[in-house]
Symmetry: C2
């Protein structure tokens, strides 16, 4: 990867050749005025190339637009004085963007031994001397092969059995689920042991992510995702539970998710020349509410006191019964849930990280549409849901939006001019601000002293960017002339308030849960950040605003979609599938709001980063340095 | 029951008040001219009442039509001289009609302990202190109740679980299938242990017979039957297998039988105020081909060498999957088959009779559309199919018909005038001859010396009833003036030939099968006649024609529909359900035609009653007495 050295700050970062210089600057923590999100429109992002090869369009008045400039070798770039940052920015550490972090190494490692086995059998073809029934012939061979006395047979396989056996003269592959007694799920003609596939899926409230997994090699053959189509009936789980109460509401939600899942399965199978009828396993993980919808289970009692799920551990389901593209042998498993708001996605995530088998005291955090936390190690596991709300996904934020094209994903602000530098997803004109942009903006406003610890704008800043709007004070991030919507994109004190409440709920959650098990935050040896959100998070900024605890940075791990990872591992290993049950059983669920100390913790967390700055020593030091 | 004494023969029989005098005469072995089948049309059946009370229409010229005359007390009836029989008829023993015989006593006895259990549970309703999921709450209680560590859960029950539990404040009844591990099939609201029902069904090639069984009391709540609607696509199994090869043929046959079964279930449930969704169990028994159709299994390999069924032991099937009226808990079992032509109906029958648990060497005979035989006792069981064909069900007989209204079911012939006495089912004008009528007619023709041992008509009888028709010699049983069809109803030498071949196939089957296991027919200690056919059979006549072996009459048992009986017992007792598997495994199947001695046995059996009269000592004696 080319090295990019910025002058006059003399800071060097590495970026791929496919990334722009403006992104390199953002990574370096350097400010370049850039108000159109890298769309090449505002023309404010001029830089000068002082060495190395670049690709980009020179500006007539000299220099290049940083947002359209790519490094082709190590390069030296001078940022002109109108963009140059003050000393405060220089003090900021080089950002560690999440995508550059390692996924927890062990996480994806698993020895391949799926619960669904394929066994190749060369049966003796029937003759007048031996004309036992097809099924008996198959069973006899299998019982011998497995060394068991009894098999349970899926009656559905009988329909095709005679054809399958005769297609390759009684060479056949049996598909079994390993249990006591083993379940004979299906048969295929000839030796198909090399073709053994699973679909691993994370059923998120917002997004459904699927991977096609080769159960022989362990390889991921393809990956795809789509929005959960239930979104049309409610953004969050609560509104969907409400929708489910309407006539046919539950049916619609159920059918929508099945339809989407089926589409993803079809798509991945088609790309890999696999007939979906060949699939052995749909290995799914989702939160409790998503799991209910998926199986067409009544969710209303999850919402009404005393908050009871229909089930938290789910029986095997024939995938065909759900209307999924599948053969008669295809089974579907759902990761077991722990409680109404700590679901199978968390169980799968915890299993995927391996934390339940290791010594270090680990804090597992999933910030998604809902926030869930788990703390523990091989000896114990405690979990809780935080009522953080969807602020970090853009929900309840005036110009918040999901992380799609045109979303502002990173922000820096010139502390003198208060001019922003913004980057948008896809380098398009900005439409709104997504989660990582929101955190970036909040941290920047705070660290530059534009807002105070309680999240209020300094009233004495003389800039058109800071104004009192109809809904109170706000910062104008993008003027309407440069936004995709034709409206000013602003960030309001109300937005900041929501964010502080959300991060406060998370942080007080860590504290309360740890206290519930007799520990405190300083004892945490490892923090694992799960979920899509984690992957785009700027760790420093998240600590600055008090969303994450101020612990040694090397103890943080981003595992990405650990729910999907766990689902994949469960397909690949019967031990993991069993481990899911063990971990779900082992997790003690705590109702945070029921804890007597919770409210105090929460109220104390409604400051940036926290009322008690001693909990955030590096932030405290940074604030002191900045003065 | 009134006693009816006939003069001048001075023979007394008992009949119910609802039976006619003409039937009493037939039972007594006495001949009354009666050529309209008891329809009251021919007016030839005049008798005189000499004592006792009767109900009936007096004839203007004196006396009554015997076919419309009912005894209201013990009565004395004089048969006028024009009807009186000769000494040969007097020699004939009083007939033992099958319906008067006892069913094998133990057969229907079974201690009630169904494999499907209902367990009433009073669960603790959820509270904030105990808000475990519905399923876990139920499972925890069940595991404790059953003293097991694991349950398998039918995922379909989850859909209704929360409503069912809450309907009676967490008082619920769990429905389980007892296995290792137990299967939780479903739940009902409140205590429904008193409502526990099964449908026992014999799926015959011709007739489907169903009983609604109370699994608590063991009582039969209702019984019904209908023709197997597959008949429209072929009378016998072979023609249906052929039909199944056509496009959608198998699907049609499958759907037809399911539809009929569903209709019978609905009907019985409705009559007993039971919702079919309450049914716990469809306990079915049928021959191998019917079992294949029922489960939508390819039957063609049953017909092609080496004659392989798809399955002979069938997994549990959720009844709903077959489209039957059922709840999600309702399971369907099918009695295990032994071979392509020895099916679950025979297994069920053998289990029902108890012969597989007892000492006496027993010959079990089922003469239906196909003939099947089993020989053995608690130590061994051997079975075979006889290619007897459907002659005894009227198939291949010129005026043969099924045992429905208008079918001639009993015949006697005046040996001097050769005038017949016929009785029809429903006392209607005759349409044709059914199985029992055919045997009756054949035996009568033979015993009266009208046909010889090879089944040929004596050519020297001077009667319009014996004539050479277009298709050879024949006996005119009903003149067209008195038949319902407007045609003469005749019985031809070709018919007789078919019958001799059919009974020869059965008898040589007994001999061959017995020889295969080192025994002979004289060693048989008990003969059990199964099937509908058995129930209407005149035992003496069946022995006279050589269809049944000439063994002590007290060793014969008619068990009626033993397939249905076995199916019912399997629903009532998990031991019987398991016994079915044991018996099916235990039965050694012999291919009769593969036995070197079979052809000789067969050819020797093509005489009335047999080439070797010493095999039929009582028939031999009777023939000698008649002279
Ligand atoms: S009238 Fe009585 S049998 Fe014909
Ligand atoms: Mg998630
Ligand atoms: Mg039968």
């Amino acid at each position: 990867m080319p090295k990019v050295t910025f002058l006059p700050a003399n800071i060097t970062v590495e970026i791929p050749e496919t990334e722009t210089i403006i992104r390199a600057a953002m990574k370096a923590g350097l400010h370049i005025n850039a108000s159109c999100g890298g769309a090449g429109v505002c023309g404010k992002c001029r830089v000068f190339v002082e060495g190395g090869e670049v690709e980009g369009e020179p500006l007539p008045e000299g220099g290049y637009k940083a947002c359209t400039l790519y490094p082709k070798s190590d390069v030296t770039i001078r940022i002109p004085v109108e963009s140059e940052v003050d000393r405060r920015a220089l003090l900021r550490p080089v950002k560690k963007v999440a995508s550059a972090w390692l996924e927890a190494r062990e996480a994806a490692q698993v020895s391949i031994d799926p619960a669904i086995k394929k066994i190749y059998l060369k049966l003796e073809p029937p003759s007048l001397e031996n004309n036992m029934p097809d099924l008996s012939r198959l069973e006899t061979a299998l019982l011998q092969n497995l060394g068991v006395e009894r098999l349970e047979v899926n009656w559905r396989l009988l329909r095709n059995l005679p054809y399958r056996l005769r297609e390759k003269n009684f060479e056949t592959t049996a598909i079994l689920f390993e249990e006591t007694p083993p379940k004979l799920l299906g048969v295929e003609a000839g030796n198909t042991t090399k073709r053994h596939f699973a679909l691993a899926v994370d059923i998120g409230t917002t997004t459904i992510c699927a991977q096609l997994v080769d159960l022989v090699s362990g390889k991921i053959l393809g990956e795809t995702s789509d929005y959960n189509p239930q979104i049309s009936y409610g953004e969050d789980v609560i509104s969907r539970i409400e929708f489910a109460r309407k006539k046919d509401g539950l049916k619609i939600l159920h059918e929508k998710v099945i339809e989407c899942l089926g589409k993803l399965a079809q798509e991945l199978c088609q790309q890999n020349n696999i007939n979906p009828e060949e699939l052995s396993h749909y290995s799914l993980a989702g939160n409790t509410v998503m799991s209910h919808f998926l199986l067409f289970l009544e969710p209303r009692f999850l919402r009404e006191s005393p908050y009871v799920p229909v089930a938290s551990r789910f029986p095997l389901v024939p995938a065909k019964d759900l209307g999924l593209p599948a053969g008669e042998q295809t089974i579907l498993t759902l990761a077991p849930c722990v409680a109404s708001y700590v679901g199978g996605d968390i169980t799968a995530g915890v299993v995927a990280t391996g934390m339940a088998k290791e010594d270090p005291l680990t804090l597992f955090i999933d910030i998604g549409t809902n926030g869930e936390i788990v703390v523990g190690n091989k000896d114990f596991l405690a979990c809780a849901a935080c009522s953080a709300g969807p602020a970090f996904e853009g929900g309840g934020i005036k110009h918040g939006m999901r992380a799609t094209i045109g979303a502002i994903e990173a922000v820096s602000i010139d502390p003198q001019t208060l001019e922003p530098m913004i980057l948008t997803i896809g380098n398009k004109k900005p439409k709104g601000i997504c989660g990582s942009g929101i955190i970036s903006l909040l941290a920047t406003l705070f660290i530059e002293g534009i807002i105070d610890q309680s999240g209020k704008f300094r009233r004495d800043l003389n800039s058109p960017r800071i104004r009192e709007g109809r809904e109170g004070w706000e910062y104008v991030l993008v003027w309407k002339e440069e936004s995709a919507t034709g409206e000013d994109i602003v960030f309001t004190e109300a937005d900041i308030d929501n964010l502080i409440r959300a991060k406060g709920a998370m942080f007080s959650g860590y504290q309360t849960l740890l206290e519930s098990v007799g520990l405190d935050i300083t004892m945490v040896e490892r923090v694992i950040l799960a979920g899509n959100f984690g992957s785009f998070l700027d760790l420093e900024q998240a600590i600055i605003i008090g969303l994450l605890p101020d612990l040694p940075r090397e103890n943080f791990y981003f595992v990405g979609n650990s729910s999907l990872m766990g689902a994949r591992m469960a397909a690949l290993s019967k031990e993991v599938l069993a481990e899911m049950e063990r971990v779900a059983q082992m997790m003690t669920h705590f109702e945070l709001s029921a804890h007597p100390g919770y409210m105090d913790y929460y109220v104390s967390a409604l400051f940036l980063p926290h009322t008690n700055l001693d909990l955030f020593p590096t932030v405290k030091e940074l604030l002191q340095q900045i003065g």
